[in-house]
Symmetry: C2
Subunit: 881 residues, 2 copies
């Protein structure tokens, strides 16, 4: 390696620029860029990421020439500052900071005030005329260098301090006492490693190596793995002249954002501390002040008021930076004796809501194009815009982790049963429903709970699907908690959480926290989102529909921009009490007549439900899936429930038990469900179809434009769809003929079994549309069930066998091939075949990118994911996915 | 329709020939052919199958010209016999018989002695000088015509007879009394339908129409459907001059086979009755005599002894027929006053064993080629050659039907538990084990039972797979029986079968019969089979291996011609008592150390098992599948068992219950099993691999040529196979290095998930071989589970949605496409990739035909199916599949 390993910057000139992020790291590239812009950046140099990679590839050896280049770099700083590194007269102090190409916050190390020793500290004291500042800087250096570079436990420094001064804090010590503290801490270092590196050059080499090493800790590797950051990116090391915010009352340090990172509003936003160094703001030991009083009119200690000139300069510079970088900036600054310096700038982190607002307003400001604005926003974030999020500053005690199933944060008292949830809420309490898993009986309890937590199940388990449909925070498959219904508690590691105790869950990360962690309220202003999605729709080819089962959901979906319903599940219509009782009668019926009698009670309930849905979707298509789950889901399972249900139905419990035994399935996922029920018990589907078309007729007569699409689930065999299509047509035509009203309708099928993909050409002959059911298709293709995957999935992700659940992020490599085969064969047999997807991946950007490529007409997802899908569809059309 | 509808035959000339089967039906074509051969066939004519189709297509109208052609046909018979139809002097009597292109035994109707009435019967009496014969013939005609053509219930004739003569049989009646009986039966007909058709032409038209109609009964349609006979084949109608076997003691009738249909031996074999008509032999009211005493040296009443001239002629003619048709013939003959007539010839039905022997001996006799002999034998039959079959003559009361899971017939007393089976057998009883389903704990009981019957599960359920491996008759998924373990009985429709009662099951048809139905013993001579399979092997490209889990099975498989083991399941090695206890300790272990300690007990047991298997397969490859089932299969499930196991292991039952709860899976088929266990608990696979290679080293040292192929199950993700291959190699290399012995081995995977097929190119990079696991692949592709499919499968077959279980007959259309994708992608990535199949379809001719086409190297099946697979592989190579 003979290439250059050090890049200089300072005095308006720099070897690098913003585009050198890969080589210099984010921080180094931006320091160079700011220098080139003529901004007040203390001079310095950046050791390249390649040097870091060389270091690890060669047994922690520096690349040839590095040491010389570092020396040259220091000379460069000396020349620009007029100070001398290790000088006994006017000593140069430097900061040493890491800076990888990708942000790895808190993962890597920083050393400030490097260059001090007993000689230089005295020179600094003399030169500055502020001995307290000098000794305080030395104290800071000793602690930081000892901790970060030498890995000496902080408690050793504390013990030494306590031995000398008891409980007195450093701010209470006199200058002389600070000197004694420094001497004691030097001694701590000598005792720990045998010597103290007085020579600033030794300090610098050790600090640079420490930054290198901090790149390769287990913690940092884990962070890169979970954040998809390549292992070989390396980190840059930035060595820069120190400027001092702790040089008295005309000095200060702070962090600011060019816009409010919480809301995105166009206001300059930040915090500062007088007479302090950067880490004081970050450490949180002192409460910083706002830079201005735009947010708090009563704020007194604002930078604007205390240092108006520096503030005015900062306002000027931040505007330059935002316009230059074309994005909201997160800026670190220091004021040294009234003079402003910029230490860092980067694109600021922001809340999802702010992200949308900033992108839209940057377009309005003429800073970026609409396409750039669309590209700026990660589609997945849109699901969070309307949800409460945890206050990032709040302390949290994480007691367990599950799979993130429906984003948003929720706190509440723990309840373990759906009816308890209702009772508690009736008493005015806020609850989180904790279950091993949920079932359709729990719906009411889920509706009233603030959040849902289950110990089993995956991201498409009942709890997850229902919670997403409700837009409610949910964590599932938390295998490290153990729920004990009997004792009304759950274990989470060593913690025992009892009924009534507060917990908080974060459905975006899967974290489970003890107590009530403060949350930021959901954004109420979605004007920016509407604007952004309007732009997205104009560029997308894929249409976005919603999965919605009720009129209420349908309305919500339409508000969120759904262009129809892609999946209306009809199961819940059978769980309404009268219908459930009828279904149970049907299951116990001895003959077809009794079955039809039972179904006749279900029909009017369903008809009314369909009318509501058609009204909500006036003028838009509604895809209705005929009954899918196996019949045993309608029967009770516990002995008590069996007795009470038997009594209610007027049959012997033994009969019910016998029927349960007959219906028992070893693998219900692969059981007697979907169109298999339609084939063996055609009267159920006939009743559903009758209800759909009676509703369609009724709504049509009321002036609603109805576009029903009847969908037959779980088809594997051509004959299944052939005969069930005939059944649908016969019933539909009869209802419409009786009413004298004709409604245009379609009959199609879900493609959710691998076989259906392989014989899609034959199935297409009997279908007007295909809707890929990617949940089941993914499960069958991989051969795992969402209910059980938790057992090995955690290990799989931890061990790196899988990066993500293929139920959450579409598996383009495997399932994608099957979908592609299905599309090609289907369209080959029927050119105008309508193609869509209604599995969870209808709201997954990876999936949407793929579905766009293979030519689907639409995707359908939970209402709250409709914005995600709309933006992702635009991303797909723009080639961003 | 103006084409010809009647084909004549007689006097050495015939309009048709053997090749006209489709037009004339099998019987008509053979009557024409025999006539052309100059054999003594009574003259007659055949109404074509097209006339039959016309009849149904035109509202039961005769095609134009048919009636005239029938009249011409009768004139033709009159001319050749010199008799007159309806003549009062020398009346012509005819038989009217059905004859479809495909055999439909017992499905359609026959009328004999047609042409008789009060006038012609007297003429016949006078002309023959045998009034008893004449009136007996008239009596027969009236009964048959009344029953078959007029659909008058037989009991009405019996009542009329009883009213006149009480309990006296017809053979006890005088001629005058026979006359009165005929008058009374004419009256029965008049009372039933209003008139009696005295006119022979009316009789003939009605009889021909009756034959047509018999083609279209529900029974016949069902038969065609279940036997894959096209609905539009139609039936021919054969009208032929009667010859009389009941014309006194020099007359006779009989049925004979050119070889013994039970054993295939080259001996003329048949039965006859003097002074009788054909239906007397068939009806079974009288016991017929053997035609010769080759089988029973003591037989007195042989045709050979009683009618030596006719017998000699029959011997001469049968040889001509067999040589002409190049197959064993089933011949109907009649001797009329010493003169021999042939009434029918056809390829004779035979037992599986006979089928093989005849094919081989026809080659030896120079009658057919080896390829013809191979083509003659249905591969599926070979599985039956070595099994007992039901005596075809025995009466049986079928009380239910399940899925045929392992062929062969078995009778025994009913037991419901595996340990009861053992106790009963210990007492010297023969038992059939009846269970809802079986589990690995039942193995011992299954071993001692004569047969196995389950009410649940499909053709690859545990019971089915194990029974096939044992070569034991088995019926599974008998959903119409209801097993009640508590009351120790099962219901089958209205029948209640209690413990200890006899039942018989037929594993080839799925029938369940009450009582002990006699069986023919299994063939012991398989010399012919060896010969046939030798010829097959020489022509096949696909190699045949066996699925075998023990040394004993491996030996048996090798005897049956297996060229290696394609699937050695290792589950059973963990069910051996010491190993099972260790596995349970492993499951309950808190740390890796305890798990390793448990596994160390399993290792020597497995090593010994592998040594035995390697010895049995000296010089042949042995594919060993690493552990596949989920861990909960090793834990007890009933409360009593949980207590006793917990006690044995010295843990609290609660701990065991807790672990069971944790391990519970909603869909175990799709659960934490296969390589997923290997990834999450690598020590299990490490132990197995160590045992395999320690065994391989030991056997190699003893001079055995060992060729282990380690197979990793349930791979869906490239990373699974990558890391598990590394694990196998590491352990194997270490064992061999320690021992200083090197064994050539391979590492491969089962391709049994749709995703594995789709990413086969990536998997192939880490695999030396693929073995398609078509059981799981079929289940995942269709999305049904073998354990549950019974719930809808019966309806599916009954309703015609599916013709056959895709687990029994390979689904070329759907699963086949996935296998093809897997093969192509696998070979594209690695040209020399070894490809095989080890699912049930390795023994299914449909599957084998397909696997040959897509270029697999081998198939592997249960030992008892190895012969099936060997012959099927030859069929595939000969283009017969």
């Amino acid at each position: 390696m003979s290439e250059r390993t050090v890049y200089l910057f300072g005095d308006g000139k720099a070897d690098g620029a913003a585009s050198d992020k890969a080589l210099l790291g984010g921080k180094g590239a931006n320091l160079a860029e700011m220098t080139r812009l003529g901004l007040p950046v203390p001079p310095g140099f950046t050791v390249t990421t390649r040097a870091c990679n060389y270091y690890f590839a060669h047994g922690e050896q520096h690349p040839p020439g590095l040491d010389e280049e570092i020396r040259a770099g220091v000379r460069h700083i000396e020349a620009l500052t007029g100070k001398g590194f290790g000088s006994g007269e006017n000593p140069l102090l430097v900061s040493v900071r890491s800076g990888a190409p990708a942000s790895m916050p808190g993962m890597m190390d920083t050393v400030l005030n490097l260059g001090l020793n007993q000689t230089t500290v005295k020179a600094l004291a003399a030169r500055s005329g502020k001995p307290r500042f000098a000794w305080d800087s030395y104290r800071r250096f000793l602690h930081m260098f000892g901790d970060v570079v030498l890995r000496i436990h902080a408690s050793r420094f504390h013990r030494a301090q306590k031995a000398l001064f008891g409980e007195r804090g450093v701010e209470e010590l006199s200058v002389e006492e600070l000197g004694r503290l420094c001497a004691a801490w030097e001694e701590v270092i000598v005792q720990s490693i045998g010597r103290f590196p007085h020579d600033p050059w030794d300090q610098l080499t050790a600090a640079i190596d420490a930054v290198f090493k901090s790149f390769n800790t287990q913690r940092a590797r884990y962070y890169r793995k979970t954040h998809n950051i390549p292992e070989d990116c390396g980190t840059g090391v930035n060595v820069q002249a120190m400027v001092f915010g702790n040089l008295g009352e005309s000095s200060a340090t702070g962090v600011a954002f060019t816009r409010d990172p919480n809301t995105g509003e166009r206001i300059f936003f930040g915090e500062w501390l007088p007479n302090a160094q950067g880490e004081d703001v970050v450490a949180g030991l002192v409460t910083p002040h706002p830079v201005n009083n735009l947010r708090d009119p009563d704020a007194q200690e604002t930078l604007e008021r205390r240092m108006p000139a520096a503030y005015a300069e900062l306002i000027r510079l931040q505007a330059i930076l935002e316009r230059h970088y074309r994005d909201m900036q997160d800026i670190e600054f220091t004021v040294e004796e009234g003079r402003l310096y910029l230490l860092q700038t980067r694109n600021g982190k922001r809340t999802p809501a702010a992200s949308v607002r900033i992108a839209v307003e940057l377009v309005e400001d003429g800073v970026i194009t609409i396409e750039q604005a669309l590209a700026r926003v990660d589609p997945k974030l849109l699901e969070l815009v309307l949800r409460p999020v945890l206050d990032p500053k709040a302390k949290r005690k994480v007691i367990g982790k599950g799979l993130p199933a429906s984003p948003g944060a929720a706190s509440g008292r723990v309840v373990f049963h759906a009816d308890e949830a209702q009772e508690s809420v009736d008493r005015g309490e806020q609850v989180v429903l904790v279950r091993m898993e949920t079932s359709p009986e729990d719906i009411q309890g889920m509706t009233v709970s603030a959040g849902i937590l289950t110990s089993r199940g995956g991201q498409t388990s009942h709890a997850a699907v229902v919670a997403r449909g409700m837009g409610k925070p949910c964590v599932v498959g938390a295998t490290d908690i153990v729920v004990d219904y009997e004792r009304q508690l759950f274990y989470a590691g060593d913690e025992v959480i009892r009924r009534g105790m507060w917990i908080t869950i974060d459905g975006a990360t899967g974290e489970i926290m003890e107590g009530k962690v403060p949350t930021l309220p959901a954004a109420t202003d979605s004007g920016a989102m509407s604007q952004l999605l309007g732009w997205a729709d104009a560029r997308a080819r894929l249409k976005v529909r919603a999965n919605a089962d009720t009129g209420k959901d349908a309305k919500r979906a339409r508000e969120l921009g759904a262009l129809g319903i892609g999946l209306c599940r009809t199961e819940h219509m059978f769980f309404q009490p009268v219908a459930l009782r009828a279904m149970r009668q049907l299951i116990l019926a001895e003959d077809r007549k009794a079955r039809l009698r039972a179904l006749s009670q279900v029909l009017p309930i369903q008809r009314d439900d369909f009318v509501e849905i058609f009204e909500a979707m006036d003028g838009l298509p509604v895809t209705i899936r005929l009954l899918d789950p196996p019949l045993h889901e309608f029967l009770p399972s516990t002995p008590e429930d069996i007795s009470s249900v038997a009594e209610d139905l007027g049959v012997k419990p033994e009969l019910l038990q016998e029927r349960l035994r007959q219906l028992h399935e070893a693998n219900p996922m692969m059981g007697h469900r979907g169109c298999r029920l339609g084939v063996t018990s055609p009267e159920i589907y006939q009743t559903q179809v009758r209800a759909i078309f009676e509703a369609a007729v009724q709504a049509t007569k009321a002036g609603v434009v109805v576009m029903p699409e009847v969908m037959i689930p779980l088809v594997a065999i051509e004959e299944e769809i052939r005969r069930l299509r005939a059944l649908v047509e016969e019933t539909a035509e009869q209802v419409m003929a009786d009413a004298g009203v004709h409604v245009h309708y379609m009959v199609g099928t879900m493609i959710e079994l691998p076989r259906a993909c392989m014989i899609a050409d034959r199935i297409a002959q009997h279908a007007d549309f295909f809707s890929f059911g990617t949940n089941d298709l993914t499960q069958m293709t991989y051969g795992f069930s969402r209910d059980d995957m938790g057992k090995f999935f955690t290990s799989y992700v931890h061990e790196g066998v899988l990066r993500d659940s293929p139920l959450a992020t579409f598996d383009v490599e495997g399932v994608g091939q099957l979908v592609e085969v299905g599309c090609k064969k289907g369209r080959a047999a029927k050119e105008k075949l309508k193609l869509g997807v209604c599995g969870e991946h209808g709201g997954d950007p990876t999936g949407i990118g793929f579905f766009h490529k293979v030519g689907l007409d639409y995707v359908s997802c939970s209402p709250y994911r409709v914005p995600v899908a709309r933006l992702a569809a635009a991303h797909a059309a723009l080639g961003l996915l």
